[in-house]
Symmetry: C2
Subunit: 481 residues, 2 copies
């Protein structure tokens, strides 16, 4: 095998933040765009987003959620109808004041989220319990102004799906909130191979205007938490100001019970941060745009076209088994450069084929996760690869799960809490009295915020880690992205 | 069969424009949104757009076009780099002047199209002929300010795909322009069942900043033309100001040759206008979200659950054959109301099942296109429906093709031209000297514009219909949407 010059990649083991930006750029997932805070999602990154769309569309269909599209522009007068909502979002708004060559009387807000514009329509469409539940999702772009961008994790414009539902009863709405949370958890755990903690947010961390927010929280390798997706029980907080009412089964007029929930391109940041290593990304097989890359090793005296035919046949075999394959057959880059490029891009398996492999009817297989290299007969290849992809997916999840488990710590005193936050970070389980004051002080002093109260948290008796007053639950705390 | 009250629908045969708006609203394809000029695409309409996405994604993949995502906001300084481009678009721009609570120094334009922001990135990514061709598409929303909206056909915000490619040679770029035009033609003809004229636009009708524009033009039932999609040869008009250059195979620096092409939600308007009738939409089977609707006819003394089981089995049979089925089994609407609702929504085939059908193991089938009604044995159903869907698709296309053919007229004098435009409208083929002056005068006097010069137009010798000067081609003229 020929030697090749390595693209200089920053080391994850040295500085994860520098590594992250570097790998996102070098793997061609995304790039900085001309406007501060915005980014371009390049084809390789967008293909991963299209996988997310497939996965979530499939999940949403099981409950009868339908896709639709609502306008980008919200009149500011409409946004102001729910007071807490507009208060929460106003510092982040981008506002159109000129359009069609004229100054607008009612300026238009570029949607930061679509509750207000959607519910103005829901009020028009919903009349009777027969119109419920109304279950609508949209895939779109949203804007929340950021001065500094952090590729995927924090950008002025992001892509997402936002589901918005209306129900006859609060019970039904809560079921919906939890169903969406479970879809997000499954997407992260089963597809991203990233374990999460699912739970309820504190009052100060909940969605502006909502009643209760649930979230999935993942732990990044630097011990910081990432809020990966959220699901909100809106109660009747929006249906009242927007007058989304219906005639119930008893003939009485009632306000609907609502939910909203979203999964954004931000969540991809967690996927990239968790699995990569000093050589680049490592994509879990279920998310990888290409699960296998086939690279021919050309040599003088060897007929290129024979090797290309061999590679083509292999690619077709694998595609017939539903495996996503890239056959990188071009001859204007050395094999070494190709190895490196696909390593940075995190393709789970590499197949090398050369004179020997073609002669022996074998392939050389290299696993991205650990660099393990071995030879397999072509006849066994498809089956073998399916098994390998499956075991790699499991292995990635197990590694991340072990990391998560070993980084959840109980703190029984505030000193202990501070000590952990200054050294290892990770999640801390600690009693908290649920007062916003203690929460704010802990944040100021340790940078840690309440992440969530896990869904399955038991009621216990304890003392608030900060004020020592009575507390009933151990909440999850962490420093967050 | 029970009687049912008909939703009052305006008649296509009386006023197509009123009918169109009415049917778009009543079929729940779209609705007016709070901001003038904008609209909501409701789930039934959006499902049709998702079909378009599938169809075009499949076509684009055959040529290696990759999807990506570029930002919504374009700094106005960037937009101004290509003079003709900004001049063409400036009256339609929506501009963000306030963001994050501050007035912006460089206001941001909400993309009317993405040439400028994409090519600023292309300049960064393209270095050598090895980086070419670069073939990128994005599915997104774009904004061009409109004071009055016409659902789908003219809206401030629209959804579309915009493909943007860069090539080593102009020849390759022209091949790409024509390939995209062919994808659009196939989408319209094979899927929408709407025949089109494909051709080149005149100088005054071409894309602002481009070198040449090609379009597909469809004829609406009122004799007006709809420009359904466009494909532009940009030459080096953008690569020069944006410095998108590359080292060619001889080692010299050259500017790339570019194309852009788009298909928008506007094109759906043509689909709805062409096939409908006084009873509502008629969707061609290849575009219909549901190709078949099954409606159970409940009766006193009949076990509802038996009928539902029968319907469920039918639905599964059909789905197994790849047919898109809606089983409308609810019991809070009468069968008559359901017939009407699905008729307005244009579902190609309706299956009615009741006591008799269940007993005889048959179904009653009704064709939306002509109301024809007949009974078929359940055993033959799947095969029969596949054939019916196919023949309906053909029949719709043939009808539209005959209409188109009988509405293309040659005019050999300006009097004849004017007479046609005042009565039947449709397309007129007429010699034109290709001067902008004659074109503008014809437009003022007859409301007809040059639509295109068909790709296969023969070179002939003639006199301009307006100024009598020498002319080489018969151009297509029409009044346009």
């Amino acid at each position: 095998m020929q030697q090749f010059e390595k693209k200089e990649l920053k080391k994850k083991s040295e500085n994860i933040s520098d590594w992250y930006t570097d790998v996102v750029l070098k793997a061609e997932l995304a790039d900085y765009a001309p406007v501060k805070g915005t980014m371009v999602i390049r084809p390789y990154g967008y293909a991963i987003w299209e996988r997310v769309q497939e996965i979530l569309n499939r999940m949403m269909r099981t409950k009868g959620v339908q896709n639709a599209y609502f306008p980008l522009f919200i009149p500011s007068s409409l946004l102001e109808k729910e007071k807490q909502h507009v208060k929460g979002f106003s510092p982040e708004l981008a506002i159109v004041t000129i359009a069609g060559g004229e100054k607008l009387v009612d300026p238009l807000v570029v949607r930061p989220t679509s509750e207000t514009i959607m519910y103005a329509m829901y009020a028009k469409w919903i009349h009777s319990w027969r119109d419920l539940p109304l279950l609508i999702n949209q895939w779109n772009n949203a804007v929340r102004w950021e001065k500094r961008s952090y590729l995927f994790l924090r950008t002025t414009e992001f892509l997402w799906q936002e589901g918005h539902t209306a129900h006859e009863t609060e019970g039904e709405a809560i079921d919906m909130v939890l169903a969406a949370l479970e879809w997000y958890q499954n997407t992260y755990q089963e597809f991203f191979a990233v374990p999460v903690i699912s739970g309820r947010k504190s009052t100060s961390e909940k969605f502006a205007g909502g009643k209760e927010t649930y979230a999935i929280e993942a732990l990044m390798p630097d011990g910081k938490a990432l809020q990966a997706a959220t699901s909100h029980n809106l109660g009747q907080n929006f249906s009242k100001p927007f007058v989304v009412s219906f005639q119930n089964r008893e003939g009485k007029i009632e306000y609907v019970w609502q939910t909203s929930w979203g999964f954004s391109t931000r969540a991809l940041g967690g996927l990239f941060l968790v699995h990569g290593d000093d050589h680049g990304l490592i994509l879990p097989p279920k998310m990888a745009p290409f699960q296998v890359v086939i690279i021919p090793i050309f040599k003088k005296g060897l007929e290129q076209s024979d090797l290309i035919t061999y590679g083509q046949l292999l690619a077709e075999d694998l595609e017939a088994k539903g495996i996503r394959v890239m056959f990188d057959k071009g001859d204007n880059q050395s094999a070494g450069r190709k190895f490196n490029a696909w390593e940075v891009k995190g393709v789970p398996l590499r197949i090398e084929i050369g004179e020997r492999e073609m002669h022996d009817k074998t392939v050389t297989l290299v696993k991205r996760i650990d660099g393990e290299k071995f030879t397999i007969a072509r006849a066994q290849l498809g089956q073998e690869i399916l098994q390998l992809l499956d075991s790699i997916q499991q292995e990635l999840f197990q590694k991340a799960l072990e990391f998560l488990k070993s980084n959840i710590r109980e703190a029984n005193s505030y000193d202990e809490f501070k000590a952990i936050m200054q050294s290892k970070r990770g999640f801390i389980k600690a009693f908290w009295c649920e007062s916003a004051e203690c929460e704010a002080k802990i944040k100021t002093e340790t940078k840690a915020t309440t992440r969530c109260l896990p869904l399955d948290a038991a009621e216990e008796k304890g003392e608030c880690i900060y004020c020592k007053k009575e507390a009933h639950h151990r909440w999850f705390f962490a420093q967050a992205y």
